[in-house]
């Protein structure tokens, strides 16, 4: 479904990512582990199509969604509009998605009226509303308190369990990978390459 054959990715003269391949098929879950600054987010940006300045080949599915490190919601639009505008979904679908993350009664609120944990759930609902073939998760539990992070891990695992979605999760925490039964891969070295844990 997504196939990356990377030869290298550099910022100026500094090579950040080396040569490796990554394939994720429908239903596959892959967690990319590695310390901060190793290039995990750079790799995710390449997969998402946000960075095209790399040496290599990539094929992507038609429908992709991404949950960013920050909720990345439009603060001037209601929660329902945030989902509708990004995905083009009907109001019924939006209501159902928000119900799935336990926020059905927050439809008309603005993101600024919600806690960070709730905003992250909205971001997750937005991604799933897009009915993606491939879901990219970028350390989306970062900066949450321990209890909220545990709740979010459970929620993500539960929501993607029955869906035939390919998932690429980027994290430095192995328990995030375990929560969605993802195959862990380690990004390491200079320039970083991908290998089994």
């Amino acid at each position: 479904m997504i196939s990356l054959r990377l030869r290298s990715k550099a910022f100026g003269d500094q090579a950040v990512l080396g040569a490796f391949e990554l394939q994720v098929a429908a239903g596959d879950r892959v967690a990319i582990l590695g310390p901060s600054g190793v290039g995990k987010s750079t790799l995710l940006r390449i997969l998402a199509g946000l960075d095209s300045q790399f040496d290599g080949d990539i094929t992507r599915p038609e429908r992709m969604a991404m949950v960013f490190q920050e909720p990345t919601l439009l603060p001037w639009r209601s929660v329902a509009d945030n989902l509708r505008l990004a995905t083009g979904a009907s109001r019924d679908t939006v209501v159902q998605s928000l119900d799935d993350v336990g926020l059905a009664d927050h439809l008309d609120k603005y993101p600024g009226q919600m806690s960070l944990g709730q905003q992250r759930r909205v971001a997750l609902a937005r991604a799933l509303t897009a009915r993606p073939e491939l879901l990219l998760l970028d350390e989306h539990f970062a900066s949450l308190d321990a209890d909220t992070a545990i709740g979010m891990r459970g929620l993500v695992g539960e929501l993607i369990r029955d869906r035939d979605i390919g998932v690429v999760l980027v994290t430095h925490d192995r328990s995030d990978a375990a929560a969605i039964d993802a195959t862990p891969l380690r990004l390491s070295g200079i320039p970083a390459t991908l290998g089994a844990v």
Partner: protein
């Protein structure tokens, strides 16, 4: 010391003159002529200035290319632009409105360029990943971020434009508040000068409270919630 009424007429005298000119004179006709020029120049300046500002704020190379010209136009005195437009285009309505718009465009460009530079790249990424259509992106992602910059450009724009319109009318039109001020200046009729000027100030106050403030309040509703 109390000033002579012919030099500094009191508010009552100016008010009475304004009422008289409205009911029996040509104040409304000239008010309308000036207002139309203000609206036309404002629309042109905001449209061209905003488009240019957004492009310069988003495209670094274009900005490097045109930055010097923006500074040049920003510093050309209004009078020079007005005189040149009248000389090149003639004493016409097109020349008048072009001269006013040219004076304001660089200021709108600079304000909107700052706004475009401050756009949140994370929201751009989100819009790109979700493949939002460009119209939705512009309307729901870009424009709301630029709203405070539009409001600032509009407010300073209206204030500046109507002052320049008066100069343009003073120098080369046969209608408008500026033309009437010119006429009454020659007659040394200070009450009439103040009456025409005050009438337009009242119109601009009405625009501020009836149009700009409600629009601003609507655009900022999400901040207040």
């Amino acid at each position: 010391m109390i000033a002579d009424d012919t030099v500094l007429p009191g508010p009552l005298a100016v008010g009475a003159q304004m009422v008289d000119l409205t009911l029996h004179g040509d104040l409304l006709f000239h008010l309308w002529a000036t207002l139309w020029r203000v609206v036309a120049a404002f629309a042109l300046a905001m449209g061209i200035g905003a488009a240019l500002g957004i492009v310069l704020g988003r495209q670094r190379r274009v900005d490097q290319w045109l930055d010097l010209w923006v500074v040049v136009f920003l510093n050309i005195p209004a009078l020079v632009t007005i005189v040149l437009c009248y000389l090149w285009i003639g004493l016409t309505e097109v020349a008048a409105i072009t001269a006013v718009a040219l004076n304001k465009i660089p200021m709108v460009t600079v304000i909107l360029r700052e706004g475009a530079r401050a756009l949140n790249p994370a929201l751009d990424d989100m819009a790109q990943v979700y493949r939002m259509p460009w119209r939705d992106r512009f309307r729901h992602v870009v424009l709301p971020q630029l709203a405070p910059f539009f409001a600032s450009a509009a407010r300073t724009g209206v204030a500046l434009i109507w002052k320049i319109v008066l100069v343009v009318e003073f120098l080369g039109r046969s209608s408008g508040i500026g033309f009437k001020i010119h006429l009454n200046f020659q007659l040394f009729d200070i009450a009439a000068v103040l009456a025409y000027a005050s009438a337009f100030v009242l119109v601009m106050l009405a625009v501020e409270f009836a149009v700009l403030k409600p629009l601003e309040s609507r655009a900022n509703r999400w901040r207040q919630s």
